[in-house]
Symmetry: C2
Subunit: 229 residues, 2 copies
DNA sequence: GTCTATAGGGGGATAGAC
DNA sequence: GTCTATCCCCCTATAGAC
């Protein structure tokens, strides 16, 4: 039963998070700063995070950010790289050769898992979420380095699914609609104080997968109908 | 043909925007400040908008914001009320008695129209967009005053569509997924520099409607299947 | 009502002692 | 490497002249 598989994956994830321990702050001051900064940037974004907060969390002096990283901005970029590595540790890359539907299912499950994991594995999607909706001066750099590749993957998979009749604009629109589920998950995580257990997450995942694939299928029918006129 | 109807609605809208003229800044200093502030808050959010910018745009002195509105925060609240009124002028409230599918179609069309209109009619959804993704200290107040009602409307319509088997959590998840199209539209508006004409907007609207209703239908089937086990 | 000048706070960054 | 003290900039808000 597919639902049970998803649920078990979430339960497994909880175990892994605990065994790794979220207190893996690193030992040196530099590591502690990077780790703490990453968490703060992920939850508050670049602007709302101050150097003071970072140093307080890392038990370091106010001047150490500039000593080790040169500036708050360079630390921010370093945090992105760090978060991307952590996210890959929790959940490796998804098999590119999967057919579009399966690939989308996997991506949805992985992202929801990341989003709702309280651990460092969830920081990367949170960074993305914050940067997209509250652009810093590093937006272009960050998009080019970390996001373009993912977006292109989405485009390829959706294009393959929709068929050759779909125009680039239609593909773009569809991808945007699909990726809308990520802020959605972020919203549910942030504002609804409800604590979701692995059952809820499995259901949320299943429903989101169903919604996305159902929507996409309808769009495909629409495109084909219009093309055959 | 439904597609043509949508397209004509967009063309009409462009005419209306032009006839009203976006230079309706008001005459008194107070009105000019309110109008300019509203536009800036809509495009940049509360934090990133400074009193200096507002006064520059309104051709007013730096001290006049506090003279007329007491503080930047009170001006922000006033701007929300103002934007809500402007949005209603462009597009009156949607008929509550419509069946869920038609209601959702109308909402999608209206929101996309608002989002992509460069005029004051689009400021309200932009304010929402910014406040949700970059909360100010006025978040709770603004949500209570302007947003709770809309969210509840969505909940009712979606609950009616999904049927009595749907749990509150399932309804919430579905509504969140649906409302994800709004940030999506915001993204397309902001980052893709492409200028969309009324044809593009009509197509975007149609595709988004199809996507949402297709997704919702699939979710309904899923819920009914699970309930009948 | 409108203006200038300034207070008061907070942020990032750096010099220089240890 | 770590710390304190300080600089400089930008923000909001207000006092007081006109």
């Amino acid at each position: 039963m597919y639902f049970l598989e998803i649920k078990q994956a979430f339960e497994m994830d909880i175990l892994i998070q605990h065994s790794k321990g979220t207190s893996d702050n690193g030992s040196t001051t530099e590591e502690k700063i990077l780790h703490g900064a990453c968490e703060l940037f992920a939850h508050q974004g670049f602007q709302d995070t101050t150097v003071q907060q970072i140093c307080r969390k890392a038990d370091a002096n106010i001047a150490s950010v500039n000593y080790y990283f040169g500036s708050k901005g360079k630390l921010y970029i370093a945090a992105w790289t760090y978060a991307a590595r952590l996210a890959e540790e929790v959940d490796g890359p998804i098999d590119e050769s999967l057919p579009p539907e399966e690939w989308l299912r996997s991506v949805v499950q992985q992202r929801i898992k990341m989003m709702f994991s309280d651990g460092p594995g969830g920081w990367f999607p949170l960074l993305i979420h914050n940067e997209i909706h509250n652009q810093s001066v590093y937006f272009d750099e960050v998009v080019k380095t970390f996001l373009v590749r993912v977006r292109k993957q989405f485009n390829r998979k959706v294009a393959a699914y929709l068929g050759p009749e779909a125009t680039p604009f239609q593909i773009e629109s569809a991808v945007s609609a699909i990726m809308g589920f990520m802020p959605m998950a972020g919203q549910m995580r942030h504002h609804q104080k409800l604590q979701l257990d692995s059952d809820d997450l499995a259901q949320l995942t299943r429903q989101t997968q169903t919604y996305i694939l159902g929507g996409l299928k309808a769009v495909k029918r629409l495109i084909q109908k219009e093309a055959s006129r």
